[in-house]
């Protein structure tokens, strides 16, 4: 009972120290709940079954991300509780001199953790439940669904999950605390607040050297991710290089910064600048590791948030351009017995001999009634003409830059008449060719670059033993298949006579729905989807994509990416800001003595406030600054990966990210400043 009383008293007494920790825990719990409750929040939305599927996928991905998030939060909590423990060593020392055993001290800590855990869970869940109601509106907006009826939803599974995850985290904290108490020595505990800090100035030459070397490595890492077209595997080296370089930059920076300031005698010996910069240097010096981790977390936040937001925006922006018609049906043609090995059935192979129209008839679908503006084209492909062949002399160079491309793929070929029919329908530029000429149509940026190089070299291609030369020195912008992204890697257009003897690959039927309004279009869409239920459906390889489904998929994908981005971004942001704030505040006790000294020798309050502000500002800005530099290249890389999605919206999303960053990170900064100011004030 006595122990409980002590714990309660402690929490009350050190509420100032705990405030930020508490606040962060509550935020963490709330965010965790909100994102795990999305599943339940979407129940009241009126969405199609395909959107429902995407929501299902999203919630399962979010719960996967939650595991990762719980690791991040777990580390934060352990780290934070270690800080707070240190603050109280002296108190524990007193208990022990009074004859209290380590077991009892552990019990006090246990009780405190339990209490803090319960309260933060309770408050956090309350806050989460409140905010998740607002979230429903946001979710509806993201999925472009109608919020037909608004109901107050409390997700029980999400509550249980939150309690479970955080319960485990608190349990681990308890174990850590117990271990660290059992390792303590009484003498260290009692004199813990008497220990003066040992200041060791680093060798300036070594600092400069390490700074230069790590900057070079960082530059090289930047070069690696942006200049070459990397895959995810080759990314590991620059990432590792970047992390190590970040660590050493902070390591050398603390020494370097102080040296530079010290050499500016007029600045250093002005007011209490010498004190301010010594404080900053010692702070960075003792937190090199956490600074690096925070920097990398901030970097991830910026990249994830801005990429996710821009992806969402550009996905929606592209659809009207990239899916200008209502439906497209594709069917493989002229399959032979070897297809059996690939898992096709005899019936399917039989079906591949007939046209799409004939197949639709067998499916009892009246294409003349439901379709208009129909265009039927044929795509050819032959092993005679692979990507390697069409790149010609440029192949070797391309192989070095883009080693991951499969150069043995057969090129898709289309006749001039067929392509022009499609181009006309899509409102794209129509082309004309001579008998001995060919053209390339593409819109995937990286591929356009590759093919343009080869076209500049006037690379000839050969089909059926005859040679053809490119008419244009660059790719024609266009596509045949509708989609949400620029994914046309290249299509060879040749004169009609050339394709006659080529093996047919696929028939593509492109059409608009014969309907005047959205409702009628949706009805036709439902009929198309119902074709899967027809008896003949399993006998055909026919597949299709519709504008409505593309739109839904890309809206869903955009929403999914955005949610995950925001989830991770917020967690990373509050974790890193909380780490900095806790570190700063946990030192306030030591600092209080220093400021008292300064006051005694007559330093103005104004000077002290200015010094404190500078210290905290530099402490918060240092990792942010490096993270911003990282992000410039990180976002560039993300763009390279996502460039098929279009990047028109990037500026807007970066501004939004900056807004979120300033709000959360800046908020923590201000709270830290005011708390510190409050703590060092003499009453």
């Amino acid at each position: 009972m006595m122990l409980c009383k002590l714990s309660l008293g402690n929490i009350k007494k050190s509420f100032k120290d705990y405030a930020i920790y508490f606040f962060t825990l509550i935020l963490g719990v709330a965010v965790f709940y909100i994102f795990n409750a999305i599943d339940s929040q979407t129940i009241m939305l009126e969405v199609t079954s395909s959107t429902r599927e995407i929501i299902k996928l999203m919630t399962s991905m979010l719960s996967g991300v939650s595991v990762f998030v719980s690791f991040v939060l777990g580390f934060l909590i352990i780290y934070a509780s270690r800080f707070l423990m240190k603050r109280r060593h002296h108190e524990f020392g007193i208990y022990m001199t009074l004859g209290m055993g380590k077991g009892s001290i552990s019990k006090i800590l246990l009780f405190e953790t339990l209490l803090i855990g319960c309260i933060s869970l309770l408050v956090g869940l309350g806050l989460g439940i409140m905010l998740s109601q607002v979230m429903s509106i946001f979710v509806a907006n993201m999925f472009e669904a109608n919020l037909t009826k608004f109901t107050f939803i409390v997700s029980v599974p999400a509550i249980i999950k939150t309690i479970g995850y955080f319960g485990i985290m608190y349990l681990i904290v308890m174990i850590f605390n117990t271990i660290s108490v059992s390792k303590c020595k009484l003498i260290d505990l009692i004199y813990s607040n008497k220990k003066t800090e040992k200041v060791r100035l680093k060798n300036p030459i070594l600092c400069v050297l390490i700074f230069i070397v790590s900057s070079c490595f960082l530059g090289y890492a930047y070069y690696m991710v942006t200049a070459t077209y990397g895959t995810l595997e080759t990314l590991i080296i620059p990432i590792a290089l970047g992390c190590v370089a970040t660590f050493f930059i902070f390591w050398s920076l603390s020494g370097l910064l102080l040296r530079i300031v010290m050499s500016l005698k007029n600045f250093y010996y002005k007011g209490i600048n010498s004190f301010t910069f010594r404080q900053i240097s010692s702070k960075i010096n003792t937190t090199v590791m956490s600074m690096s981790v925070i920097c990398i977390m901030l970097f991830l936040t910026i990249c994830v948030l801005s990429s996710a937001l821009s992806l969402k925006n550009s996905l929606n922006a592209n659809i009207n351009e990239l899916a200008p018609v209502d439906i497209q049906l594709m069917k493989s043609l002229d399959m032979n017995e070897t297809a059996l090995e690939d898992g096709y059935s005899i019936e399917q192979i039989e079906d591949s001999k007939i046209s799409i129209d004939e197949t639709l008839e067998k499916l009892n679908f009246d294409s003349y009634r439901y379709f208009k503006d129909a265009v039927d084209v044929t795509i050819y492909a032959t092993n005679e003409l692979t990507v390697k062949d069409s790149l010609g002399a440029y192949y070797e160079t391309s192989k070095n830059i883009y080693p991951t491309i499969d150069y043995t793929t057969a090129e898709s070929i289309i006749s001039l008449t067929d392509y022009n029919k499609i181009a006309k329908l899509f409102h794209k530029e129509e082309i004309s060719l001579n008998e001995n000429e060919y053209a390339v149509v593409a819109d995937y940026d990286s591929w356009v670059d590759i093919r343009n190089e080869s076209l500049k070299l006037k690379t000839p291609i050969s089909l059926n033993g005859k040679e053809y030369v490119p008419k244009y020195e660059e790719c024609i912008d266009g596509f045949v298949y509708i989609s949400s992204n620029h994914i046309n890697a290249g299509l060879i257009v040749v004169s009609d006579s050339v394709v006659q003897n080529l093996p047919r690959e696929q028939e593509v039927l492109t059409a608009n729905y014969n309907a005047s309004n959205e409702e009628a279009k949706n009805e036709i869409e439902e009929k198309i989807l119902a074709l899967n239920e027809e008896a003949y459906a399993s006998n055909t390889t026919i597949s299709g994509s519709t504008k409505i489904s593309i739109k839904e998929a890309s809206t869903g994908l955009g929403a999914m990416v955005t949610f995950i981005g925001i989830y991770l971004g917020i967690i990373f942001l509050i974790s890193s800001a909380a780490l900095l704030a806790l570190k700063e505040l946990s030192e306030s006790a030591d600092n209080k003595n220093r400021y008292r000294m300064l006051r005694k020798i007559g330093v103005d309050e104004k000077m002290i406030r200015k010094s404190l502000f500078t210290q905290i500002a530099v402490f918060f800005l240092a990792p942010l600054l490096l993270a911003c530099i990282h992000s410039i290249f990180g976002i560039k890389f993300c763009n390279l990966i996502l460039n098929s999605m279009g990047t028109d919206q990037l500026l807007g999303s970066i501004l939004m990210t900056a807004g979120v960053l300033i709000f959360i990170y800046g908020g923590y900064f201000l709270i830290t400043y005011y708390c510190s100011k409050w703590m060092i004030e003499e009453k």
């Binding site: 002005k270 209490i272 220093r594 330093v603």
Partner: protein
């Protein structure tokens, strides 16, 4: 000699009406320029409270303190800081050096907050370091110095601004006897050579014996006063011990 500090009937109460503690109970005395005064008393006699009131760290309940004719009990806010910065020098029992700064920087801080130029700072630190024999520790951090060295650095910081009054709170409290002796000899030097006015609070008879005048305080009141005059230090020390005995042997650790 002109009067530099005049304390006029000051009182300091702690607590409320139900339980009132009179830490200082009607004390008055004057300090002349160039004096080296020691205030002696047992723990709880009110001597540190007195020093805190003079240094404006604490406020008196009633009465006035004049420094060169200016009433410092009327100062407020930043005036207090300015006053402490420009008129006073402090020396504390636990040195109060900033542990993140070198000895040089600690001393420089007292000047830089008065906006003295770095060149001037450098010149003055070198001068004072020679006088206090701390030239070889200027580059060291507090944790690398002995107690005596730390206290001499703190003294250097206190007097480098040429304050009107140097206040020392148990300056030898954390020092061994050899360091104490060295420090007190430097105090004597400062007092004689630079005409520095020093007001020191201690419960140690040996430390007090270096002063030119000793004021004894008991229960917040002045109990007795001794003036050294032409006595040797040993003779003065014996006189102090006599008074301490008279005080009731409360200063057990006087020797």
């Amino acid at each position: 000699m002109e009067t530099i500090l005049k304390i006029e009937d000051i009182e300091k109460y702690y607590g409320n009406k139900a339980s009132l503690t009179k830490a200082i109970d009607h004390i008055s005395f004057e300090v002349k320029k160039g004096e080296f005064i020691s205030i002696m008393g047992a723990s709880g006699s009110g001597k540190t409270t007195l020093l805190n009131c003079i240094s404006t760290i604490d406020r008196v309940t009633s009465g006035h303190i004049y420094l060169e004719g200016k009433d410092i009990t009327k100062l407020k806010g930043n005036e207090l800081n300015k006053f402490r910065r420009e008129e006073l020098g402090f020396i504390f029992q636990d040195f109060n050096l900033l542990d993140t700064l070198t000895a040089y920087e600690n001393i420089a801080l007292a000047l830089s907050i008065q906006k003295v130029s770095p060149k001037e700072i450098d010149k003055r630190i070198k001068e004072i370091a020679k006088k206090l024999n701390i030239e070889d520790v200027l580059k060291k951090y507090p944790y690398q110095m002995s107690g005596g060295q730390k206290q001499r650095v703190a003294s250097a910081r206190a007097i480098i601004t040429n304050p009107k009054l140097i206040l020392a709170d148990e300056p030898t409290g954390a020092l061994d006897s050899k360091s104490s002796k060295m420090l007190l000899e430097s105090f004597e030097n400062l007092n004689k050579e630079l005409q520095a006015t020093i007001l020191m609070v201690t419960h140690d008879a040996f430390t007090s014996s270096y002063a030119s005048r000793v004021i004894f305080i008991k229960d917040g009141k002045i109990f007795h006063e001794l003036i050294r005059g032409k006595d040797t230090r040993k003779e003065f020390f014996d006189k102090i011990i006599d008074v301490v005995t008279l005080l009731g042997g409360n200063l057990n650790d006087a020797l």
